[in-house]
Amino acid sequence: MKITEKSKDGLSVVYNITVEVAELNESLDAKIKEIAPTLNLKGFRKGKVPTAHVKRLYGKGIMGDLLNELVQKGIDQAVNDNNVRPASNPEVGNVDNVDAILDGKAALVFDVSMDILPEFEVVDVATLSITRPVTEATEEEVTKALEEIAANSKAYEAKTGKAKNGDAVICDFVGKIDGVEFQGGAANDAQVVLGSNTFIPGFEDALVGVKAEDETVINVTFPADYGVVELAGKAATFDIKVKEVKAPKESKIDDELAKTVGLETLDSLKDAVKADIERQFASLSRTKAKRSLLDALDASHSFELPPKMVEAEFDAIWQQVQADKAQGNVDPDDEGKSEDELKGEYKVIAERRVRLGLVLAEIGRVGEVQITDQELQGALFREASRYPGQERQVLEFFQKNPNMMAQLRAPLYEEKVVDYVLSKAKVDDVKVTREELEAEDEEPQADAKPAKAKKAAPKAKKEETSEEKPKKAAKAKDEAASEEKPKKAPAKKAAKAKE
């Protein structure tokens, strides 16, 4: 097998591979010898078919298989010998006189064209400086959160006297239309909160001013758009028997409140609330830090990108943009721009995504970041639990589709790499107020345009996973590249901001 580099243009290379006739026939004979002992033909004892006869009968078919194998082997060898890593699925072209080759009379000559991954130096992650805004939950915020909880868990206390708005009335009622009871119109010991607008209009108003033990009849009309057609627009009477009138109790922030939400003491409630708030902050500041990290990485790397990867990425984005447009959700930023302008913008994003994907993958490779099976399993179960009742099907689906597994693995891998970098890099914690933290994070949310990013991602991922075949090393790369997608929609704004 002879491999020569036919042409090289940036990251696209074309290799010319030649397999001589002798080599072809040799491998064919070897192959036939391999299968002959298992053949069972009529007229021959099992496995006793002469090689020559097998060749005459099945030579072409076997040769076809053999050619596929040799092509694959040639590609592998070209990749290995030249010490490159393919970034795209290698394309085979320029194969002539297939018939002669199949007959073992002509040498197999073909061209392989592919994009290779650029060689680049990853910056020493330790030199990166990343700002991470952090903030702590203040006493005030905890109190505020506690007050919210208190307001939500309103308690009522029995009172004497007339019911007024805001009070709860415990009563039995029987609803009648034209003197006949109708279905679903009766209840015992129902709690009606006056002014809560949970009952049909007029019902609660009519109860204002009742006292415990009162019995009254009220007239209400069902609204015309009432859910039950037979009742809609009908006038009805309700016989009401008031049992109790309750006034809302001022709920205080104390151990009682803690108990209503299932905790022992107020202190533990406070801790829980604080932890919850801090968790939110932590995830916000992590998102921030990650953005800062990606910006830093993007800024510190500039190398040529494999055109095919960029193209695939761009196509995915563009397709999504078109789909959005067809549905009428045009990005406000995109309005009034010509198609060419848009394409230019999205091209920049696609390049950034690919670049960051490559960089992250490289960092992960150098840093030997790996995903354990356990982590993958964990992610799988989380995914499955999103479809209650169909967990089993979901699990099966993932087990049967390695591509889908790769999609699961991608974000995990990315997170781990980011964690790894964050642990190595110089991270400056900047104290900010809560407002600042949230304000800054408005942006990623606003431009995350989840629909755009997420939908685009799976498609692109599939493409890339199929590209993973040529080499294992390439696998991680492609994965990471695809990982970039969900998050890198934000890149759009970031990219724009940079312009």
Binding site: G43, F44, R45, K48, A52, H53, R56, L57
Partner: protein, 98 residues
């Protein structure tokens, strides 16, 4: 020698078995022929159809086996095999057919 319809009648099929393939080493090919075919007829047919020179033809009548099926006695058909020895240098590729 030109081919004729009777040439096609003189040869039924090649016999492709282990034994027959082994005979190719001696420059011999094996055909199944009608029970009525004679050596000169076979020689003429092979020479006309395959454009080769035949050195000799040996024939053998193969008796059909007696087979029992559900107690009934049956008999497979008899057939005649012709082992044709070709002149040095001539070959026939049996598997490609006519």
């Amino acid at each position: 020698m030109t081919t004729d319809a009777r040439h096609y009648d003189a040869i039924l099929a090649p016999v492709i078995t282990e034994k027959a393939t082994m005979l190719t080493e001696n420059n011999q090919v094996v055909f199944q022929v009608p029970l009525t075919a004679t050596k000169p007829q076979i020689k003429e047919a092979v020479e006309a159809l395959f454009k080769v020179k035949v050195k000799a033809v040996n024939t053998v009548r193969v008796e059909g086996k007696i087979k029992r099926f559900r107690g009934q006695i049956g008999k497979r058909s008899d057939f005649k095999k012709a082992i044709v020895t070709l002149n040095e240098g001539d070959t026939i590729d049996i598997s490609t057919g006519l």
